[in-house]
């Protein structure tokens, strides 16, 4: 059974009298442990697809099965629970709470699933350590560089042991050198912790870190291919 299965997913936005088909019958499967990059121009539907995969948005048509469960029949709160337990989000704009320390930002997902205060703290410290931010626990986001902020966001995505990380243009706001460091972190998480990483990007250099590239155009999948090993190294 595939970890993620999309069956003829469509998403239609009504703009006045015009129907805008952001997704038009997308079908694909992603297995556990994959590292997938979704590419395409802006407006190709890749971000909409990502939101559907993240249970942040519901498709107009079709079915999205996560771990064999059809998400279309779930309530708002059940979707929130799935996001909490199975999905970790990394955004282009980091989306950290600005007036809150790095540690508390990482603790945040555990506030919503009943871990004790000491357990939250221990796990958050460990998650920060695993992304190389040991000793920065009390720093606030505005005291951290872009790369460090994105590491905090990744620690936050990891802290609940979510099997899937969804990263929407995670390097979009970072310089090349930091981008490479962040991507290497994703590669390590995928290789060592067998976390399924799904990444949206429009940069071929970034997509090259993945093992599989799905290309979107006007709401359709136009190509879906494995990345050759030697390309990954460069």
């Amino acid at each position: 059974m595939a970890l993620i299965e999309a069956r003829k997913i469509s998403k239609v936005y009504r703009l006045g009298d015009i129907d805008l088909r952001a997704l038009d019958g997308i079908s694909t499967t992603i297995d556990k442990g994959e590292f997938v990059a979704i590419m395409g121009q802006s407006g190709s539907g890749k971000s909409t697809f990502m939101n559907v995969l993240g249970c942040l948005d519901t498709p107009t048509d079709g079915h999205y099965l996560l771990d064999g469960v059809d998400t279309g029949v779930l309530s708002r709160d059940e979707l929130a629970e799935i996001r909490n337990k199975k999905l970790g989000f990394v955004f282009q704009g980091f989306n950290l709470l600005s007036r809150t320390s790095a540690l508390e930002n990482v603790e945040l997902p555990m506030l919503y699933n009943g871990h004790s205060a000491t357990e939250r703290r221990e796990r958050a410290v460990a998650a920060l350590k695993s992304v190389g931010l040991e000793g920065r626990e009390d720093h606030h986001p505005n005291q951290l560089s872009g790369g460090q902020q994105q590491r905090v966001a990744i620690a936050r995505a990891l802290v609940n042991d979510a099997p899937i990380i969804l990263a929407d243009e995670p390097t979009g706001n970072l310089d090349t050198k930091t981008s490479v460091e962040i991507m290497e972190l994703f590669v390590r998480l995928n290789r060592e912790s067998h976390i399924t990483v799904i990444l949206v990007t429009h940069e071929p250099d970034i997509a090259a870190f993945s093992k599989r590239i799905i290309r979107f155009l006007d709401g359709h999948i136009v190509s879906d291919e494995e990345v050759k090993k030697d390309e990954t190294i460069t």
Binding site: L56, R83, L111, Y112
Partner: protein, 409 residues
């Protein structure tokens, strides 16, 4: 699962971040709660004072004064000429079925001496019935009797203030004092009554048999004349019946025709006082209601600031939803924030209200009573306001679409 302690922590932090704004929002509640408590304290104090005066005056009381009330702007009666007599008093007791008892009063002011000390006080000449009518107990000794009245003996009952001024710590019963240089034997001490509705000290008085007052102290313009008659009706219901019966009886006894004005006036003091008590109660309600409006405005202030806060923090709400906050996690976060604002405001408001009441009574001398009930109510009500006015913003926040919230700039 909702994590209440953490939610409280989140709320406190959010309030600390906007210190000025939180303080100003709280100020609305502080003023509201403070005003309610202070105003109700002033009102309760006033009505309690009146209630005390009513009970000290004696219940179901009628007072008959000589002289007429005005009719049509022209005084037709006998003015303030004395018209009431001892016989009127006895007739009222005998012939008015609604009357429980009646006592004549023939009074004046006199210098009282004991040893080298002297004191000027009001001397009331009356019958033993006055103690019944005024519901006045004796603190020591005994009362004078009908026999004392008949034979005009020189005995007296002293009010507490007179005792304090002439005897200090000595026991006055059995001692001899001089009233207007006439020697009297003290046979009893009256119980403490306190101030009356006009603020006079009711304990600054001496009671003697009415006949003694008429014959030996103050004299009369005609035999048997008294200044006032006080009457006690059988109960509250028979007050107006007693008033009517007395009117008819005295009209007949004083030979007053249908078209003529009365040469006496019957006053229902209990009614007057009860009306006063009623009006202070209405006043308390009114003051409380006006103050409640400011509490309501304070609540709207909370709602306003919470709505602003929800809008400002749309992105934060989006992030929280994306990482797993459920509907009630978001709602509770904002409700607890509003509740925290209103409860802290409530506590400070209670302190403000109680101290305002204390300052008011020490500056203006108004009696104020802060009842525990009004504190509990004010605190509970501010909590209710927090939840009530916090709910809509919280509800609005929980309905946000996570994607739209995340994209909000």
């Amino acid at each position: 699962m909702i994590n209440i302690p953490s939610t409280f922590k989140i709320s406190f932090r959010a309030l600390r971040v906007n210190k000025m704004r939180s303080a100003l929002t709280m100020l609305g509640i502080i003023i509201g709660v403070g005003a309610v408590i202070a105003m109700v304290a002033v009102g309760t104090g006033a009505s309690r004072k009146i209630a005390e005066q009513i009970s000290s005056m004696g219940s179901n009381l009628l007072i008959i004064l000589p002289g007429a009330t005005t009719a049509g702007g022209v005084r037709m009666g006998a003015g303030t000429q004395p018209t009431l007599t001892m016989n009127d008093t006895e007739a009222i007791i005998k012939e008015c079925p609604a009357v429980a008892d009646a006592a004549p009063i023939h009074n004046g002011v006199a210098q009282v001496m004991f040893g080298h000390l002297n004191w000027s006080t009001g001397v009331i000449g009356t019958t033993p019935s006055l103690l019944v009518v005024r519901e006045w107990d004796l603190a020591a000794g005994r009362s004078f009797t009908i026999q004392d009245v008949k034979s005009a003996t020189k005995v007296c009952l002293l009010g507490q203030t007179v005792v304090d001024n002439l005897f200090g710590d000595q026991n006055p019963v059995g001692q001899s004092i001089r009233i207007k240089n006439v020697p009297f034997t003290v046979i009893g001490v009256l119980g403490k009554k306190g101030q009356n509705a006009q603020g006079q000290d009711q304990d600054d008085t001496i009671m003697i048999p009415v006949t003694t007052a008429q014959k030996k102290l103050f004299g009369t313009q005609f035999p048997g004349m008294v200044r006032i008659i006080v009457v006690k009706a059988k109960d509250a219901e028979s007050l107006s019946a007693a008033e009517r019966q007395i009117n008819e009886l005295l009209k007949q006894r004083h030979h007053i025709g249908q078209k003529q004005d009365n040469d006496f006036t019957v006053r229902n003091l209990t009614q007057v006082m009860q009306a006063a008590e009623q009006s202070t109660k209405v006043m308390t309600l009114l003051l409380g209601a006006i103050a409640s409006v400011s509490l309501l405005v304070g609540g709207i202030g909370i709602m306003n600031i919470m709505l602003v806060s929800v809008t400002e923090r749309t992105r934060e709400i989006g992030i929280r939803m994306a990482i797993g906050a459920k509907t009630w996690d978001i709602r509770l976060q904002f409700i607890i924030e509003a509740l925290t604002l209103s409860l802290i405001g409530g506590v400070i408001g209670i302190i403000t209200g109680v101290s305002t009441a204390m300052v008011l009574s020490s500056i203006s001398g108004w009696p104020t009573v802060v009842s525990p009930l009004s504190i509990v109510l004010a605190f509970g009500f501010s909590g209710f306001i927090g939840i009530f006015f916090g709910f809509y913003p919280a509800y609005k926040a929980s309905l946000l679409n996570p994607i739209d919230a995340l994209r909000y700039e």
